[in-house]
């Protein structure tokens, strides 16, 4: 992937922001405003719009819908002259495969899936979540005084299992006797686990009562509940956020307990992809965002808190980038 985080300036930024490129984007369930995964994609899209003046069109998904519905959504965008068309979430894999065939001149991109790697006009935007999770796992183990950490997953899917796998390996790399408590809040097709702060809080509370003092909340909107529980548990308890830098986005009264966040730069991926399209050299194939290009990373904004752990984390990071450490994506 082309390197650089979201803050890297682009050459086009000075130009008057107009472009005849029309970008279509189809959200996963929850849509813009979910303060999570979809919002991250939206942020990247907004940034591209501001900078390049591209026209955008966003369509929403419905709960429990069929592939046919997703297919039609993509088709409507492609048919309406939108190019590129981005599908947010692995659920678009099957439908995008079909529609991409129907519209060979449209460039598609899908986030979180690489089964369409062979389809020439589909770009796969995927992340090495396990790598980022590995680092925050290591940080968690270092920060834990009880030797007991927790992982709260939103919904039990293979994607979230990658987070779990990385977190566990990272924690065990630092302290091989560490106890990692794992809990998913809901099972698919019940995706309420991403939207249930109360359950997040109850679960985190249970983990704390069972000895955990650092908890990684890979649970979308439910993370807020985890933060509350950590906050209530008092000093020496830490929460780790996910996807975006939650130290910056969480409610004011809980932000100080957020040690760090595992950043998954969906915004960067979307932005980069649109930019490449504007630039006329559209990214194709599998675009993997990982530690090496800061597509995944851990955040440093809670400076005082994270400071003691950065050395070890950065060391591990280099080892992963260098290939000395292989992080498995299966728990």
């Amino acid at each position: 992937a082309c390197g650089g985080g979201s803050d890297s300036d682009t050459v086009d930024s000075g130009d008057s922001p107009t472009s005849d490129i029309k970008v279509g984007l189809a959200y996963d369930v929850g849509g813009r405003g979910d303060q999570s995964f979809n919002d991250s994609a939206a942020a990247g899209l907004d940034k591209a719009k501001d900078e390049f003046g591209v026209e955008i069109k966003e369509l929403e998904a419905s709960n429990g819908e069929t592939d046919a519905a997703r297919e039609e959504r993509l088709r409507l965008l492609a048919d309406g002259g939108f190019n590129p068309v981005i599908g947010v979430g692995f659920a678009y894999a099957t439908s995008m495969g079909k529609v991409a065939e129907e519209f060979p001149d449209t460039q598609f991109a899908i986030i979180d899936d690489e089964t369409l790697a062979e389809t020439p006009n589909v770009t796969s935007l995927v992340f090495a979540e396990e790598q980022g999770s590995y680092l925050v796992g290591a940080i968690a183990a270092e920060a834990s005084k009880t030797g007991n950490v927790g992982y709260v997953g939103g919904v039990n899917t293979p994607l979230l299992q990658k987070f779990e796998a990385g977190f566990k390996q990272g924690a065990e790399a630092v302290n091989k006797d560490i106890e990692v408590q794992v809990k998913y809040l809901s099972q698919p097709p019940d995706f309420s686990g991403f939207a249930a702060p109360d359950k997040g809080e109850t679960t985190a509370q249970g983990m704390i009562d069972a000895g955990a003092d650092v908890i990684y909340a890979a649970a979308g909107g439910s993370g807020g509940g985890v933060f509350k529980a950590i906050k209530a548990a008092g000093a020496d308890h830490w929460a780790i956020g996910v996807d975006s830098d939650q130290y910056l986005t969480a409610e004011a009264d809980v932000k100080d307990i957020i040690l760090t966040s595992m950043l998954k730069r969906v915004d960067t991926a979307v932005y980069d992809f649109v930019k490449s399209s504007v630039d006329g050299e559209v990214l194709t194939g599998v675009q993997r965002f990982d530690l090496s290009d800061e597509g995944v990373a851990y955040s440093l904004s809670n400076e005082a808190a994270i400071e003691p752990f950065t050395a070890k984390a950065d060391e591990l990071k280099e080892q992963i980038i260098g290939g000395e450490i292989k992080v498995s994506d299966k728990p």
């Binding site: 069929t66 519905a69 039609e72 099957t94 097709p189």
Partner: protein, 378 residues
Amino acid sequence: MNKLNADTARRIGLSVAAPVLAVALSVVITSIVLASAGNDPVETFTQMIEYAQEPRTTTLIINAAVTYYFAALAVAFGFRMNLFNIGVDGQYRLAALLAAAVGGAVELPKVLHVGLILLVAVIVGGLWAAVAGLLKVYRGISEVITTIMLNSITTALIAYLLTADKLAVQVEGSNNIGTPEIPASGRVGGIDLVPDSKLQVYGLIVLAAIVGFLYWFVIERSRFGFDLRATGRNEEAAVASGVNVKRMVLISMAISGGIAGLVGMPQLLGASYTYSLDFPAGIGFTGIAIALLGRNTAIGVAIGALLFGFLDTSSQILDLEGVPKEIVLITQGVIVLSVVIAYELVRRYRIVAQQREVGRQLSSAAGSEDSKPQGAQA
């Protein structure tokens, strides 16, 4: 006879009156909601209707309706004897998962393969629903509770089974997980039903038609259906007439679940060929609404399914045009309500009319002392 014709005309008029009234009412209410948020209702409806007429969309609507049809028939079957099967949702998901697993695990000649998958789905759905039936018959627990609980239990069960070391395979590079794909022999090809459409209608639409016909035939024409309806309308009288209600509950619940088992089949055999995380969910609940909308009759339910299919499918165009597509849900709710209100009004009118008729006959009979007016319409 002239009177007969007038009667027939009135009867037809009345049965058309209710749906027309209902549709009008829901259009009005939806329009008000739309207009209050600054969207032009006329334009919105025009867009939806125009969009629905595109061959591709028509196909999508029919396909959605096929799936809904099974769900609604499953619910309706229970309703016909006062059983409220809220568990269609769980039943079809479990049935689809296991059918997909079986279908993906074997290679058989086409007919056998498809037949096997369908059979597994029906049996699984039926047995899962029968659990609720058993608990009702032997432990007296309301099927409303049991099926609600079983829905949630199903979700957990599927999560447990849908892992790489059980029924699923993990495809490299995918964040999805599903059962192994059903080979070509187990798939049901589409039909070019809608001219000029590149998309095909689910082949299982034929099965839907057959099940719909059987539903009608069994309920309206068979002895079993008579017993079932009798039980639904007056259980005590049914018992006195020799109906074994416990058995009926068990059988009906199982049949309802068996039909529910088919809900996932068009999708499984006609589109996805695998049961994965994004397999459509929640259709059981839509089925309840459609069954009620269609008044639990085979034809009514078919119309209801098409209507819901239309609304769901054409909501996509609203999104594209910047109209909130949630309006469609509002329309659906309003339609369900206004249809029953309209039917209720017509029903009241009918009963009054009928009593007036009986009264007239009786008083004329009384007037001419002992002349018997029976068999007036023989």
